[in-house]
């Protein structure tokens, strides 16, 4: 009979002492291994982290005022490029346009989102399964969240312009 190794693991620490001893030896061994970690694996880890953070944001439907899209975009660019201007060049946009998008002084045009989709396809080809629609979903989910969150700002003016003339 084959032994089933994966039906369960009991892995809880019995006491604080056991846990602390484990933490020290494990950290020493890990730091030693990290010394030899190639740069491309660090970049790979950061990109996978970004992908997972974006996916979590889409699942959690976090309705806050945070600038998720631009924060993710900054993380993406800064993981791959040493200078943001080089990314702007690769995307065939001006550094000024990129800076305005990143600093939330203007909305990205649809063309920018399309280029970002193509750029990500190339980058994630060797990193992991990245869904094409992810940047779009993040951008529009944030738009929806902003609209709902800021109703006090836009509602009074807009409400004055809308009426219902038919009996309902």
């Amino acid at each position: 009979m084959t032994h089933d190794f994966e039906f369960g693991v009991e892995s809880r620490y019995k006491n604080k002492r056991e846990r602390e001893a484990d933490a020290i030896s494990l950290m020493q061994a890990r730091l030693e291994r990290m010394k030899n970690l190639p740069k491309e694996q660090i970049v790979r880890a950061k990109l996978l982290q970004l992908k997972l953070k974006m996916e979590n944001y889409l699942i959690e439907q976090n309705n806050t005022e945070d600038n998720h899209f631009t924060n993710f975009l900054k993380m993406y660019i800064d993981t791959i490029y040493s200078h943001r201007s080089k990314f702007a060049e690769d995307m065939n946009i001006t550094p000024v346009f990129l800076s305005q998008v990143i600093n939330n002084h203007r909305d990205p045009k649809e063309e920018f989102l399309l280029k970002l989709m193509i750029h990500s396809e190339k980058v994630f080809k060797n990193v992991g399964d990245f869904q094409k629609k992810t940047w779009y979903q993040v951008y529009f989910q944030e738009k929806i969240a902003d609209t709902m969150f800021n109703q006090e700002k836009w509602r009074p003016g807009i409400e004055k312009q809308v009426k219902l003339s038919e009996p309902f």
Binding site: M1, T2, D4, F5, E6, F7, G8, V9, E10, S11, R12, Y13, D22, A23, S25, L26, M27, A29, R30, R33, M34, L37, Q41, I42, R44, A45, K46, L48, Q49, L52, K53, N56, G128, D129, Q131
Partner: protein
Amino acid sequence: MTITEASSGKIFPIEIFPVEKADYKLLVKSHFFFDWKDEQNEEVYKLVIKGEQAILGLISLERIPTEWRVHIRLLTVSKENKGSQKKYDKIAANLITHAAKIAVAEFGEFACISLKPKTELAQHYIDKYGMNITGVTLSLEVPEILDLINQFDKKP
């Protein structure tokens, strides 16, 4: 993420959710091998086939941010998924991958998952997942933790 029906090879999409308070009534030792009620104050997740209710596996985790680590406290599959007559394959692998995803999302290039299986099980985890061994603790770090995610975290 998917699991495979052992008898037919058919693939089923799965979902992993946090265990809710009401679930603990169903998590009896005779079906899930451990006393899961002890884990009620921990971060516990259940694996189900997408759209279904039946719990096929469970994992309890502890996030340790000071060590960039997620420790697997307890892991199990349900009774019908144990042994040579098991109904579905890859339940445990998906649960371990879930822990790996949490670690990478939180800690990036420093991410680590750890567990302390019994000695006779350790070699299996080393062989199957490429885990490192330190004393009696097994751990998975970059790059192997990324390989694990890429292997199992695929859209069906």
